[in-house]
């Protein structure tokens, strides 16, 4: 047997052990908090720039007073409205008032129905989050296992065909998938409702539509990363130690493959809240996206501002969560910098 001769003295030159690099790994929570601290300052800067941009952009696109007065409004009405909404003040003054109120989440009332703009946005959030949550979960549930499966043996004929199918699917725009789904499941089969939020059954088609254009992308990235990881030396090491194929794939390769895919998934999530506008319009989904479309059409700028503001915060939160996931997966990001 090849038991190590325990008493044999192996000369480890003095200093050899001591000179080994001492790198400390910071616990996940502490590392996350550091990251959040940095990010919060960035978030405040971002919100400042976003609101500034919004304020001036909307002022450039038209005269809000004219919109409020409508087509029949005369000069007197315009002057009255301007005074009422503070539009007669100098622009810089209006800007600072806007900023000061934005900090307190006060974007004024909707021009359309005199409700609080931010209130309208918050009202839509649960509906939007339902779509985001389901689409995101579906996306991961499909793309991670399927990507791992595709990438584990990319040279097999079945996988090659599947990879081509995924490639084609990636090229199909979401609205086409949405319209097809409506045609088949709502019009022909009459299985699923196609309009609005009417409970779980009505979530299926919009979520599938959103996932259908996000999942192929993630799937392809995961598949490529898994294929690459499976060729790495540490896979050979694990194999030489008797690891089964599923251990190699799920325990060794996938975690490494997820490193590259996490950034993409994070970017997709941040896109979802405001970016599923077309899907929301197709399915008459009463979410944030559709609210923005209607508000832009009616030049209801307080609502647009409030919506963009909330979306900016959401995008930033998503990016921050992506960072946290990175920290959890990759120990190298938890390195103590000396």
């Amino acid at each position: 047997m090849t038991d190590i001769a325990k008493d044999a003295k192996v000369a480890v030159p003095a200093g050899a052990a001591g000179s080994e690099r001492q790198v400390e790994t910071i616990p996940v929570f502490r590392r996350t908090m550091d990251q959040v601290k940095n990010r919060v300052i960035e978030l405040l800067c971002l919100l400042f720039f976003v609101s500034t941009l919004l304020f001036f952009l909307l002022r450039l696109t038209g005269d809000p007073a004219a919109v409020l007065a409508g087509e029949t409004g005369d000069q007197e009405q315009l002057a009255l409205i301007r005074r009422q909404y503070g539009l007669d003040q100098p622009l810089w003054y209006q800007y600072f008032v806007f900023l000061f109120k934005a900090i307190q989440f006060d974007f004024g009332n909707s021009l359309a129905n005199a409700q609080s703009a931010i209130g309208l946005v918050f009202e839509r959030l649960p509906t939007s989050f339902t779509l985001v949550g389901i689409a995101f979960t579906a996306n991961l549930l499909i793309s991670i296992p399927a990507g791992a499966w595709l990438g584990s043996r990319p040279d097999r004929t079945g996988r090659k065909l599947a990879a081509t199918a995924v490639f084609v699917m990636q090229g199909i725009p979401g609205y086409i998938v949405g319209l097809l789904l409506i045609q088949v499941f709502a019009v022909e089969l009459r299985w699923l409702p196609s309009i609005g939020n009417q409970g779980p059954l009505s979530w299926i088609m919009p979520a599938t539509t959103v996932a259908s254009f996000q999942a192929p992308h993630v799937l392809r990235v995961i598949s490529a990363n898994v294929a690459e990881a499976m060729r790495e030396d540490y896979i050979r090491t694990a194999r030489a130690n008797g690891a089964s194929f599923s251990v190699l794939l799920w325990r060794h390769a996938l975690k490494n493959a997820m490193l590259g895919a996490t950034a993409l998934i994070g970017a997709q999530v941040s896109f979802l809240l405001g970016g599923s506008i077309i899907t929301e319009v197709i399915f008459a989904w009463p979410g944030l996206g559709r609210l923005m479309v209607t508000s832009v059409q009616t030049l209801d700028f307080p609502v647009v501002q409030a919506a963009v503001f909330v979306i900016a915060i959401f995008v930033y939160t998503a990016i921050m969560l992506t960072d946290v996931v990175f920290i959890m997966i990759d120990p190298r990001l938890r390195r103590q910098r000396a």
């Binding site: 325990k6 003295k9 192996v10 790198v23 090491t237 194999r239 030489a240 120990p331």
Partner: protein, 336 residues
Amino acid sequence: MTAIQEAAATGRSVATADTILAVKDVVVEFPRPRQNVGFRAVNGVTFNLNRGETLGLVGESGSGKSMTALSLLGIVPAPGKIVEGSISLRGRRIDNLGLKEMRTIRGKDIGMVFQDPMTGLNPVRSVGAQLTESVMRHQNVTRAEAEEIAFRALDQVSIPSPRDRLKAFPHELSGGLRQRVMISLALINHPEVIIADEATTALDATIQAQILDLFRLRLTKATMIIITHDMGVAAEICDRIAVMYAGRIVETGTIAEVLSNPRHPYTVGLLAAVPRFDIRRPKLVPIPGVPPTAEDIIRGCAFKSRCKFAQAKCDERPPLTHLGGRLASCWFPRGA
């Protein structure tokens, strides 16, 4: 003279009761695109490994040393595979085992240390996780027991503060420490045979010396195959040596025989290209030309295009024949 002494003395491949690993005429072939003749990375390799013996496989890059080692574990990278020959472990054929049975041998009966410690460990899993995973696969122990075994394994390869190192990730360790982890990973289930594939090549000279010490002093009774292109390393730790060229063993014998009196022109060339401090010589002599690549189809002696002694007869492949206490395959052997 016992069979094992005779085998040791002559370098002959005599299978005895003490033979742990018997490799016979193994051919590892990779299909060539649009050709019906595949590339034979290993082309009829035969050797026996006896208990407590250290065999050195030496040769240039691409000579088939690593492929030979991978074939022993049945992990030749696809699309390559063993197409001929047999591999027996303690008399039991293992080259035709099913995947499930083969997995019980990998890491349990045969442990392997790979060349590059920087890439050979999973970067996102802790050292302890990788060690305990292997222990729990092959031994019927609890997680806590496996961790204790992992702790002792790290301690045995002289890793300082092993308890903390279990929690460490590969990037937190230096190259030397990582290679020690790789070695402890190969040894952790007490394999009967240890294969070290260029285990010291990627390390700097002082760390290399430490790792060699580890092999030499801690693993004196181990049955080992050391793969190296470094004749100095082979001389230091091997009992027997097999020189490989283009997928074949061209010369094999005891380390003393082969190094002091090489018979194959390729072995002569290899030794002339190694710097030595014990003898005075004007300069290192490189072997002219390059070894055959996967594209070349070899007829006759594979070394003939680089050999200054080649003659017409070399178009015919020389068999391994007994030459003064060792085997060499050359029509016109050097030395005496």
